[in-house]
Symmetry: C2
């Protein structure tokens, strides 16, 4: 399987490392072989070689911050744009790993449509296109007979979408509720042990969990983006941000946490969706709720189903390697089922 | 997909109800159509009709306790044996739903081999054959170009094996540890709230969770059977019961529970396996362990992986409808991937 990557940050580099380290196992145990034929970045240049790029050389060039340092090779093309590179036959799949834009989804969205129209499978770690245009992308993929997958966009490598869409295929999913943002859960967990909101936020920033401007996390927008993807994937909704009620955790005080604990409850930033809509809101959960005991940056989701009742999945919600693993899982699913499944989801 | 069922107890009846109730949705949303062409039971007789049996009539006849009450129809054959009925072309899949025998796996094992050799896919809710002969069955299935699946045997419909084998396909699973027996977890949960072991067991028996002879549950053998299936499926082990250290919960006293609680710990019957072996044992877990908060008959498993760290799945561990749902999930996986995946797992 020949791959073009848009973006080569922590996730792209982790993915390249995983491909390099697991190449033998994947070939022997799964009959799966993949090579990166193209990499497109906004600031480090671009590379394309139909014969495949060398992962170790790619990683070394990325270290230098400039793909101009990638060694010359026969058929190597430098500095092509996404619109040059994404064309029928140029690769089997596009991996969209550029930074998330939850307002326009651009420039990634244009590349996604271009890839599907060119007959490439599409795998995303970038939340923007699937949060804002899931149904259109899925329809375009089905029409082209290819697959569109985005496991990496929700709970990183923890296989949330694969659980909901494949493992629970015989069930109707009635609703989903989860802790989808690790940064806010880390802050709330620190507050449980007595810290103030400000001190917990500062620690989250020092550890790299929260950004200098933390509003995307603490005001609920990151969780809302993931919730849109879930709602659109699980319920075939066409929800947009304006359909969601979104609030965050910045109003929660140490006193609130303390009072909740006295009643054997914990505050959690809960994202929940059903076929009729969704919301992101800090809520007090009884300790008997499986989500109440999720601590630190861990994420978790509970899916309510018709046949199985509640199914809860708990795992890492972030991390370059974890997200890279989700990309591999999506590619293996494409490899396993190929075009069968594209038509199945049509 | 034409199906032969061996066994038509609570699981078989629930499965027939699910097929009947979801027929339209499955056809429209998944392109999946299934009909039960044969049912074989030890005490109620057997039925086979190449044109398909009517689910409602089957369920009505099962209510009477005798398939002789199933209405006459063209091509209907009554009272055939498994060895008569399971033959090339007679069906597409065999569902083995007869009672578990963890000592010999018979008579189910012979039917399983017969089905695979006849080119039928094999789906099991009966733990015996896969607990004792997983590797042989998998090899026989691969040689025949068909699939062997047994989601229903571990945590009922909670998709444990699908999570481990498909959703986490890119990861190496380093170890598995879980609460795989709901009856013992119910008893321990009751003891947490102050009951004696004897009173909690009596309540479990009154509710139908534990049998009159509760030893299969309380001495750890049910959990051990599931652990063997997991170990053999996840690690390609060829472990047998004698390779496992197995103990149960009948030695645990109210005092033990009380002392553990003082140290913020809880007793759980933990089944754990790694490539080097496995054990079932009552253990004290710190409250920070996701398995510590699993209450009542709920089951849970934590898989430790190389790329994703710990992934925990929580859900129902028993129930006719839940187990029936697992059979449907396995059939949908066969339908999705057909022969692709059989060769993939070879």
């Amino acid at each position: 399987m020949r791959l073009i990557l848009i973006g080569f940050g922590a996730v792209g580099r982790s993915f390249a490392e995983i491909l390099r380290d697991k190449a033998n196992d994947l070939r022997e145990q799964r009959g799966f072989e993949a090579s990166i034929v193209g990499v497109i970045t906004a600031t480090r240049g671009s590379l394309y070689c139909a014969d495949g790029l060398e992962p170790s050389d790619l990683l070394a060039a990325a270290e230098t911050g400039d793909f101009a340092t990638y060694p010359d090779a026969a058929n190597l093309q430098r500095d092509g744009s996404a619109s040059d590179m994404i064309a029928p036959g140029a690769a089997d799949a596009l991996l969209e790993l550029s930074p998330t834009n939850l307002e326009t989804a651009q420039p990634a969205l244009a590349s996604c449509y271009r890839a599907l129209d060119a007959g490439l499978h599409l795998v995303l770690a970038n939340k923007g296109p699937v949060a804002l245009h899931y149904a259109d992308l899925a329809a375009r993929a089905a029409a082209a007979g290819v697959m569109m997958r985005c496991e990496a966009t929700v709970m990183a490598g923890t296989p949330t979408l694969q659980l909901a869409q494949e493992a629970l295929a015989g069930c109707e999913i009635l609703s989903a509720r989860g802790i989808l943002n690790g940064t806010t859960n880390y802050i709330l967990t620190q507050m449980e042990s007595g810290e103030s909101y400000a001190a917990a936020l500062e620690k989250a920033q020092a550890l790299g969990y929260a950004e200098a401007d933390p509003s995307g996390d603490v005001d609920g927008w990151d969780a809302a983006g993931k919730l849109l993807i879930l709602a659109n994937a699980l319920f075939g909704s066409r929800l947009t941000m304006t359909d969601l009620q979104v609030s965050g955790i910045s109003h929660i005080r140490a006193d609130d946490i303390h009072r909740a604990r006295e009643q054997k409850q914990r505050y959690k930033l809960i994202a929940q969706a059903s076929p009729s809509g969704g919301m992101v809101q800090a809520m007090r959960l009884p300790m008997s709720d499986p989500l109440a005991s999720i601590a630190g940056t861990t994420n978790a989701i509970t899916l309510d189903t018709d046949l199985l009742g509640a199914i809860t999945l708990v795992g890492a919600g972030a991390g370059g390697r974890e997200t890279g693993a989700a990309l591999l899982a999506d590619l293996l699913a494409i490899h396993r089922c190929g075009r069968n499944q594209a038509s199945d989801s049509a």
